[in-house]
């Protein structure tokens, strides 16, 4: 047994586990934080993704001992941390996943949302390509991913204060010209925001 002192979702938690235990094992089998899912135990599926100092990390490939001294965020902490940072209610990523129907069984979603949160931390206005890239380590078997991409885009659009590009499920009910115009506006807003971020002092990437 090795004593462990971990900072999880803003709390300092003390526990003990065999020295070779992974962060995922400690979260699920010591700390009762079962939101991080166990899908493969070898870094293939991404269901265990957590944030370590804001960056996505596979908890099943991370030794718990090496996570000491770092800020760990699990899915359980996403909303509390958003509220602590002055936000209201769930993290915008969580809200967008909910409203876009970006989940079915939901087993992959905690990891998926943390990968999305990590992306937005370093790049607040990602393109569809950058979203795909950032989520490519998280497998989903139910949804076909499209509504997941759209959820991340909704979170981005809302942070920019614009309407998102029409979602695949909406296009059927919009007039083509109307859909094109909304897509154009969303793309322009994104491009303008990216330019500001790249050049401005507030650039975060």
């Amino acid at each position: 047994m090795r004593p462990l002192r971990l900072t999880v979702n803003g709390d300092t938690l003390e526990t003990a586990a065999p020295a070779h235990w992974t962060l995922l094992e400690v979260l699920r089998y010591r700390l009762g934080l079962t939101g991080s899912k166990q899908g493969c135990d070898k870094g293939d599926c991404g269901a265990c993704t957590v944030l370590v100092d804001g960056r996505p990390q596979l908890a099943c490939l991370t030794l718990a001992a090496l996570a000491e001294g770092h800020a760990i965020t699990t899915i359980e902490g996403l909303m509390p941390l958003h509220v602590a940072a002055g936000g209201d209610g769930p993290d915008p990523v969580q809200g967008a996943f909910d409203r876009c129907g970006a989940l079915q069984c939901g087993f992959c979603q905690p990891g998926m949302m943390l990968s999305a949160r990590a992306l937005l931390n370093r790049n607040p206005c990602p393109t569809r390509g950058e979203i795909r890239e950032a989520l490519s380590g998280n497998l989903c078997r139910c949804t076909g991913y499209t509504q997941i991409f759209e959820a991340v885009e909704l979170a981005v659009a809302e942070s920019l204060g614009v309407a998102p590009a029409p979602r695949a499920w909406e296009e059927q009910r919009m007039k083509p010209a109307e859909a094109q115009e909304q897509a154009r506006r969303a793309a322009a807003a994104l491009a303008a925001a990216r330019e500001r971020n790249d050049g401005g002092p507030g650039a975060r990437s």
């Binding site: 089998y29 909910d98 087993f107 490519s136 076909g144 991913y145 509504q147 296009e171």
Partner: protein
């Protein structure tokens, strides 16, 4: 459960009448005649008047899922629980030569060692022993301490070896099953001889894994005594509870089965399964709860799969492209099971056809139902031969489908899908493109169908509480497709309430009779029962209000603006109306009704791909799907499910397939690293369309049809792009290069 004792029993059994419906038994559709109550047929409101249904509704379980609070079986923790792990046969067939039980029992923390096969194993991945311990870690140590030794016995894990004379027998009986035939061989062969154009080819599809993100498993909460609660990642809450009761030696009514949330099943998760039975046995022995989830390798080896198929098809058409004859000879590869393969010419009509199908058994895990069992295999053969025939006859690929489709809905769908994918501007409509550029663009098509009838046993209960809240309950489980959400939405629609005012309870064996969620039956079973319960509850509430207010029961209307009566000017707020109810509120039970469902869902898809003839790499650029759904309860969820099916088909086309080493008896890809399911970078642009020209006002299951034709469309698109006809899925780059003659 709170709801049960307060349920209002149904009145004396009303007269019955017979109706025809489709039932799915272990994934196989069968048309049956059943008896239903002869009550006035319920109807959904006209689509234009719907306020909640047929719109985009966020899920009622969205918040609990996005917050990480949703509890899956894997996450269940109960006091005193022990952790169990399985030892699997590492070979397809072997003698169990040594198991050191004493050493395993001596491992600190190990509390039980259960041997389930002492003599001889007969399939790769067959459970041999189970070790239970105070920690998962100790259970693993216990498995290693068993120091199991297996002596190989002759096995067969591929078609050629299984059919060879003198091959090791797989179980009792011959390795090759008796032929299942349909059609008229003489007529079909005569039609082929007389056809203007005929082609013949052999197509092969691999074994596909369900690859649910949550593995199979159970938590059996039994601590001695008369009662138990069993949590299971399953598609049938009531089924496994009964099995667990039997294994635990308890009364069926004393075992509660719970499926709060489950991480995908796709047909692989019915019943308690082997690991569930072992967990019950250990719990019974120890009088302690047992947690037993498969790890990913076990999930690949022992939790079922979609059977593979090899089929040789010969088809002919007349000068106009009408199919005149079709003869098929096929073999199903379902391991110890029989596998499944739908009929040919699948969704098309031919002048005459004949089919001879046999299963070839091997020392491998038995196949199970997987999303539209037998259909993707048949679709791949049929759509491929149809394309080959069209090219041979110089016909347009859409035209040959329009001409031969067995239902006019497909004709309408083909026109729309062709328009969406850009068929009219595509240069290769009657001949494939050539591998003469870096990126060759091709388009392919496919059509599918599924019966989707509901279960007449399904019931639901609706309770209107005195505080104005509404609870809808049914034992069926939500696989993530949105069952909870539409149960709540149906009640919200009925009573004029916001969806949030309704609580849906499900996934609990003690609730009113549900249904096994397989073969797209959940929605056409549960939604009619909920609707019927709502109608009855509304009637009972109106009768109650009639008494309280001294008005006629028929005059009451429930809407977003509250309760109105035709003879009253003022409105009564919903909460106020509910306040007049007795303390126990009001409840009604409903039953499935045929008039509220619809059967027969047709789907058409197109795929546009880019093939690099230098590397053989295929990228899917765009997929279009147009699907009938009857009355869509929640358009947002329907589209998500359609897209999920399309992407499973993309995986089937390009990457998935069990790989075995026949000599060593190993599965080479029993993990997500080597068994590749599609990821975010492979997802094409998706145009997902609900076929609103389907005006049938009944609900249908939508999950199976979209998983069928995509792989066929992609395979045909690869050929259409550059002339590489790959007749064996998955279409990996090596096969494309081989088909192009670039490697030999």
């Amino acid at each position: 459960m709170k709801l049960e004792p307060r349920a209002v029993p149904l009145q004396d059994a009303p007269p019955k009448r017979k109706v025809k419906t489709t039932q799915v038994v272990n994934g196989i559709e069968t048309e049956v005649e059943i008896e239903v109550e002869d009550v006035p047929a319920g109807q959904w409101p006209p689509r234009a008047s719907l306020r909640v249904l047929n719109h985009d509704i966020p899920r009622v379980d969205g918040p609990v899922k996005v917050s990480g609070a949703a509890r899956y079986t894997h996450d269940v923790r109960v006091p005193g629980m022990v952790w169990a792990r399985l030892l699997l046969s590492p070979l397809p067939r072997a003698r169990v030569a040594a198991l050191d039980l004493e050493a395993a029992r001596a491992v600190p923390g190990v509390v039980h060692v259960l041997v389930v096969e002492r003599e001889e194993t007969g399939w790769l991945g067959q459970p041999v022993a189970v070790v239970a311990a105070e920690t998962l870690e100790a259970a693993g140590d216990g498995l290693r301490a068993l120091a199991a030794r297996f002596e190989p016995l002759p096995w067969v894990v591929d078609h050629a070896a299984a059919v060879r004379e003198g091959a090791p027998a797989v179980g009792r009986g011959a390795n090759v099953g008796r032929p299942e035939t349909d059609g008229d061989e003489a007529r079909a062969r005569a039609a082929l001889s007389a056809s203007a154009t005929r082609v013949r080819a052999t197509y092969t599809v691999p074994v596909q894994h369900h690859a649910s993100l949550e593995t199979h498993g159970v938590v059996v909460d039994y601590r001695g005594g008369e009662d138990a609660v069993v949590y299971c990642s399953t598609q049938y809450a009531q089924g496994f509870a009964a099995e667990a009761a039997k294994e635990l030696g308890l009364k069926a009514g004393n075992v509660r089965g719970v499926v709060e949330h489950m991480g995908g099943g796709f047909g692989s998760k019915f019943g308690l399964d082997a690991q569930g039975l072992y967990a019950c046995r250990i719990a019974k022995e120890l009088k302690r709860p047992v947690h037993l989830m498969l790890d990913r390798r076990a999930e690949f080896l022992m939790s079922g799969n979609r059977s593979g198929t090899s089929m040789t098809i010969e088809a002919g058409c007349d000068a106009q492209g009408s199919l005149t004859g079709l003869v098929a000879e096929a073999w199903k590869h379902g391991g110890l099971g029989r596998g499944s393969l739908s009929g040919l010419p699948y969704c098309y009509k031919a002048g005459a056809h004949f089919r001879d199908v046999r299963s070839v058994r091997m020392h491998l895990d038995a196949s199970r139902a997987m999303r539209a069992p037998g259909h993707p295999q048949a679709s791949f053969g049929m759509e491929s031969i149809l394309d080959e025939l069209a090219y041979a006859a110089g016909l347009d690929l859409v035209e040959i489908r329009r001409r031969n489709a067995a239902h006019p809905a497909w004709v309408r769908q083909l026109d729309r899908v062709a328009r969406e994918i850009g068929w009219d501007q595509h240069p290769h409509r009657t001949q494939p493109g050539k591998p003469d550029r870096e990126e060759c663009i091709g388009i392919g098509f496919g059509i599918s169908n599924w019966g989707s009838g509901g279960s007449s046993d399904c019931e639901a209960e609706v309770r209107i509480e005195k505080d104005g809240s509404v609870v809808v309950a049914c034992a069926a489980q939500d696989l993530g497709t949105g069952t909870r959400m539409y149960m709540a939405a149906i009640a919200a629609e009925e009573f004029g309430l916001p969806v949030a005012a309704v609580t849906a309870r499900l996934g609990d064996s003690r609730l009113p009779t549900g249904v096994a969620s397989g073969g797209s039956v959940t929605t056409p079973s549960v939604a009619p029962a909920v609707k019927d319960a709502c109608t009855r509850a509304r009637g009972a509430f109106a009768a109650h209000l009639a008494q309280v207010l001294g008005r006629s029961a028929e005059g009451f209307r429930f809407g977003p603006d509250g309760v109105r009566h035709d003879g009253m000017t003022e409105r009564l707020a919903w909460s106020k109306a509910c306040g007049t109810l007795p303390a126990e509120g009001l409840s009604a039970r409903g039953k499935w009704q045929e008039s509220l469902q619809t059967r027969g869902v047709r789907c058409t898809q197109a795929a546009q791909v880019a093939v690099d003839p230098g590397t053989g790499r295929v990228r899917v650029l765009h997929m279009v799907c147009l699907q009938e759904v009857g009355l869509a309860l929640n358009r947002l969820a329907v589209k998500s499910q359609i897209q999920g099916g399309m992407i499973q088909a993309l995986g089937y086309a390009l990457g998935e397939g069990r790989q075995l080493d026949s000599a060593l008896g190993l599965q080479l890809n029993a993990s997500f690293e080597e068994y590749k399911i599609p990821h975010a970078l492979e997802i094409p642009r998706m145009t997902t369309l609900i076929d609103d020209d389907d005006t049938r006002n009944g609900v249908a299951g939508v999950g199976e049809p979209p998983a069928i034709p995509g792989a066929s469309a992609i395979a045909n698109a690869v050929h259409n792009a550059c002339g590489a006809r790959v007749r064996e899925l998955p279409i990996t780059p090596d096969k494309v290069l081989l088909a192009l003659g670039k490697v030999v």
